[in-house]
């Protein structure tokens, strides 16, 4: 489904990695591993199409993502390092905007349900600037509950700042998404209790 061939990534004038290749099938859970600065986030950004590779190709359902950008982005959910929250808006307003900006029609009721489910029932109407780091992270993650129709989830450090319960919940959500035929690609430095051990892609092995 997702196929990456001979990928090379240039950051500034330094080649981070080259000849990187992997394949992610339906139901696959891929953990991108490697020490800090090896290019994990850069790899995720290449896969989403936010950045362009120095060389190599990324294919989704057999088509280069560069050519079918909008169709690919309709099937992709990317949650980056920055939680995409505006401090002046409430979690509910942020979540509703995130969904409609991505092109999904989601009504307010489902957004409220998602925020309650992720444990923000008491923070629905507070401006995002008063939320803690973990709570801010949760607002972003609430989109997972509203994006089951998007098969490919690309998550950059989703477990950062979460407490133990939230980590277990998130791992269960990701495992369920894979069970249902979805695909998850993530970076993390901590061990999360996944139902099935993830495949590991060590970016360090392709470093220059």
């Amino acid at each position: 489904m997702l196929e990456v061939q001979e990928l090379a990534c240039l950051k500034g004038d330094r080649l981070l990695f080259r000849d990187l290749a992997f394949r992610l099938q339906a139901g696959g859970l891929l953990r991108v591993a490697g020490p800090n600065g090896v290019g994990k986030t850069s790899l995720l950004r290449l896969v989403t199409g936010l950045a362009l590779p120095e060389s190599g190709e990324i294919r989704w359902r057999g088509h280069a993502i560069r050519r079918e950008r909008e169709a690919f982005h309709g099937e992709l959910l990317y949650l980056g390092h920055a939680p995409a929250l505006n401090d002046l808006l409430t979690p509910l307003e942020n979540l509703r905007f995130a969904c409609s900006a991505a092109g999904d029609e989601v009504d307010a009721r489902r957004c409220v349900d998602a925020l309650v489910r992720i444990g923000l029932a008491n923070q629905l109407d507070l401006p995002a600037r008063v939320l803690s780091q973990g709570q801010r992270r949760r607002v972003g993650l609430a989109r997972l509950f509203l994006s089951a129709s998007r098969p490919l989830w690309v998550l950059d450090e989703p477990f950062t700042a979460l407490d133990v319960h939230a980590v277990a919940d998130l791992a269960a959500t990701l495992s369920a998404h894979c069970e249902a035929g979805g695909m998850v690609m993530l970076t993390t430095h901590q061990d999360a209790p996944f139902a099935r051990a993830p495949e590991v892609l060590d970016v360090g092995a392709f470093a220059c």
Binding site: T48, G49, L50, A51, L52, E70, A71, H73, G74, L76, Y78, G80, H81, A82, P83, A84, L85, N86, D87, L88, L89, E93, R96, F97, A98, S100, A101, A102, G103, E105
Partner: protein, 222 residues
């Protein structure tokens, strides 16, 4: 397709309302710049009357420039811009919505207060409708061109200064025809030609600037 446009427009207007101090600062800047001129060139009514169209236009242009860097900066910093670029809707659509919201929150207030400032400089009453019309046609061009500059300088150190260097030369034709329209009306030759040129410029900017802006945003976030 329209839902993304409306969602971005609604959110940016809501943000402008919640952060309305920024809008008021822009407006205060416009008023102060206009008020500086009588101090600088002297309070001779005939002189002020003669330079009024130019002064009002330059002040409006600077007020627009002052707030331009805010157009994408916050969304860039908090990751919203990445999410927008990953939208399944075309980028030109939401860029247009952002520029429209920007114009409503900075251009419209300036246009609304311009008649009062024109009165201060004793602009002849006959020139007032043309002044409003030229600002209404010209400030959206400033916003559209400025958005391209703001997208290009996004995330750069000293981006604000670079932005001014980049877009001020592009603003010159708008200034010439905007201020020229009022002067032409007052001198009796009629402002139609100037206004038509401004309208043509607006149509061109509407067609091209959002595309250039979207491409620049992709480069800036790469």
């Amino acid at each position: 397709m329209l839902s993304t446009f409306l969602a971005v427009l609604r959110r940016d207007l809501l943000l402008a309302w919640r952060g309305r101090a920024d809008v008021l600062v822009t407006l205060a800047f416009f008023i102060i710049v206009v008020c500086l001129f009588p101090f600088g060139v002297g309070a001779e009514p005939n002189l002020l009357r003669a330079i009024a169209p130019g002064v009002l236009w330059v002040a409006a242009l600077l007020a627009c420039l002052l707030s331009l860097h805010r157009l994408f900066a916050q969304d860039y910093a908090d990751g919203t811009l990445e999410q927008l670029l990953l939208s399944r809707e075309p980028a030109t659509l939401w860029v247009m919505a952002k520029v429209l919201a920007f114009w409503i929150s900075t251009g419209l207030p300036v246009i609304a207060i311009a008649p009062a400032m024109a009165l201060l400089l004793d602009l002849e009453q006959g020139g007032l409708p043309v002044l409003i019309l030229s600002l209404a046609l010209g400030t959206p061009i400033l916003a559209l061109l400025g958005a391209v500059g703001a997208a290009l300088t996004l995330g750069l150190r000293g981006g604000g200064m670079l932005l001014a260097l980049l877009v001020l030369p592009l603003f010159v034709p708008v200034l010439i025809f905007g201020a020229g329209a009022v002067e032409a009306e007052l001198s009796g030759t009629g402002a139609v030609a100037h206004l038509l040129l401004l309208g043509g410029g607006l149509a061109g900017a509407l067609a091209l600037a959002p595309m250039a802006c979207a491409a620049a945003l992709r480069i800036s976030t790469d």
